[in-house]
Symmetry: C2
Subunit: 355 residues, 2 copies
Amino acid sequence: MSDSQQTVTSEQEMLNWGRLLMDGLVYADLLAARDRGPEENWFDFWMSRADHYEKLADESLATGHRMTAGYWLWVGSMAAQYAQFLWFDERRPIGQDRKVELYRRAAPLLDPPAERYDLPIDNTTIVSYLRLPKSANGRAVPCVVLLGGLESTKEESYLFENLLLERGLATITFDGPGQGEMLTDVALAGDFERYSSKVLDHLKTLPSIDAARIGVLGRSLGGHYALRAAATDPRFRACLSWGGFVQMDDWDFETPMTKQSWKYVTNSDTLEQAQVRVRDAIDIRPVLAGLTCPTYFQHGAKDELPMSEIDQLKQYAVNAPLVFDIEPEGDHCCHNLGPAPRLRMADWMADQLTS
Amino acid sequence: MSDSQQTVTSEQEMLNWGRLLMDGLVYADLLAARDRGPEENWFDFWMSRADHYEKLADESLATGHRMTAGYWLWVGSMAAQYAQFLWFDERRPIGQDRKVELYRRAAPLLDPPAERYDLPIDNTTIVSYLRLPKSANGRAVPCVVLLGGLESTKEESYLFENLLLERGLATITFDGPGQGEMLTDVALAGDFERYSSKVLDHLKTLPSIDAARIGVLGRSLGGHYALRAAATDPRFRACLSWGGFVQMDDWDFETPMTKQSWKYVTNSDTLEQAQVRVRDAIDIRPVLAGLTCPTYFQHGAKDELPMSEIDQLKQYAVNAPLVFDIEPEGDHCCHNLGPAPRLRMADWMADQLTS
């Protein structure tokens, strides 16, 4: 494959309109990204949008418009996210750091705000952000732990958090092994549940949270982690796997860019090494019998991930009440279907934690 | 022009991606509208989406998910709006009635809810919807009167209302002459201020509203009405004209479909008759000297409306502090520029009414 072919293929994969719009990026920016001239590459285009939005945020702060400033800083962090999310060279950490920086500035300005908690674990830190619903009014409320995936991190779940917050649930997001702020310290590994349980330990110390009503929800690889988290920690009351999967033994269906992502987050030297590491780390069949809480599994039939993951889940999660939400026309995570799948998931989770 | 050419032209004008997305329509529906087969016409496609969303709403209500139901009913009302908004035959009232019906069902389920007030005037009724910010907590709050335009009505301002509500302002919307629920009783006329002032009278009776802090904001033709409302009623504390204009004497720059809209809302037999009626009714030069409150005028330089409207405003509104927001790349109402112009307008209005 020539360089130019690679570029075209990459851009088609990166400019996933459904995903980017549902994650809150600005439509006018998507048009401009598509139509920009050959002199400007994808990364530079989006990083310059991030700069533009930070400038708008600073202007808004200077005139006392904190809410608008928070929005621009968050949109700027999303621009930086999607600048870097499928590059595997020095652009990756540069864009990642920029996303983290902009989201950190946005956090206290969001509505409701996101409060940062740094949780020590081993020789590193879990960076997490907690948001409380405005309707709480001092009462302890249920909480959902949101998990990012292969190249998504704690910053991208903002709009889904809003759906949960509107429904009276608190939210907490964090970066685990192989993700965002933790990647340089800890590569992808097979013990994600140590991190999700650590976050749950933290939640139990907060008077604002009803510790008996905590759910876990993850998207894509995060949907795999959510199953692992709930299967290994009975304190989770509900589990939602959004475009997730049980194991990654036969990764031939993955796109070339996704394979590169696996290589990057496992800190592997070769694709072959990455494949082995992923196969060993990403397999919850041995623990799925421990899953006992209500569990929702969402899958688009047009996902690259095979429908056989549904059978795997049924075969191994024999002790959990399972709900399957299979969309015949859905792509990976059903990003192409608009708000319907997300609203169903938010309502299901609220039902589990508030009824 | 052949029928098929007319259809293509019409559809290009109707499928205004920036406008429809910023008004909250579902991106997946826009794709499906664009890609649908020749056997399904525009009107039927969108009316069937409205039916689909009402079905989702009923399912949500049946399972106790009121917030989601409110969202679907509102999106359904938007689908009905854009089904009919540029047809000038029996489809117009059918789609209009459907929009009204779905929004009326949505109103109590919105967050915050919209409360309907029927205000008698002459031999008809002003149908209005009031929403109070959640942050009010029983305090009297400022309020913004939102005005629809040539083919937009009280139902389409929902997302803009949300921007104002988040900033602590109440909102009220209504249909005036030539608009929505009033059109069959009263065609477009030159006395819109009688209706906006009637709504203001109503607001002054409500303990939830700070009657000394009421602004008016309108989009497109509503931006013209906003100027008229504020110029003739000194109780308005701030005025925002979003893509508005001063007069409509030289309508040659209007598109054929917009001319058809004028004919429809003036209840005229011919385009020539419509042109005269519009020219006479839509001209605020005689009253603009009465405009004294802070006034914000937003215009996209790529609008069909000429830049000379800015000069007209400067020439006649000699007693008002004027703020101009001219976007060099903006189309009509700057729909193509994403959230930035809307956030600026919301912040400006909040500054006027809360400082």
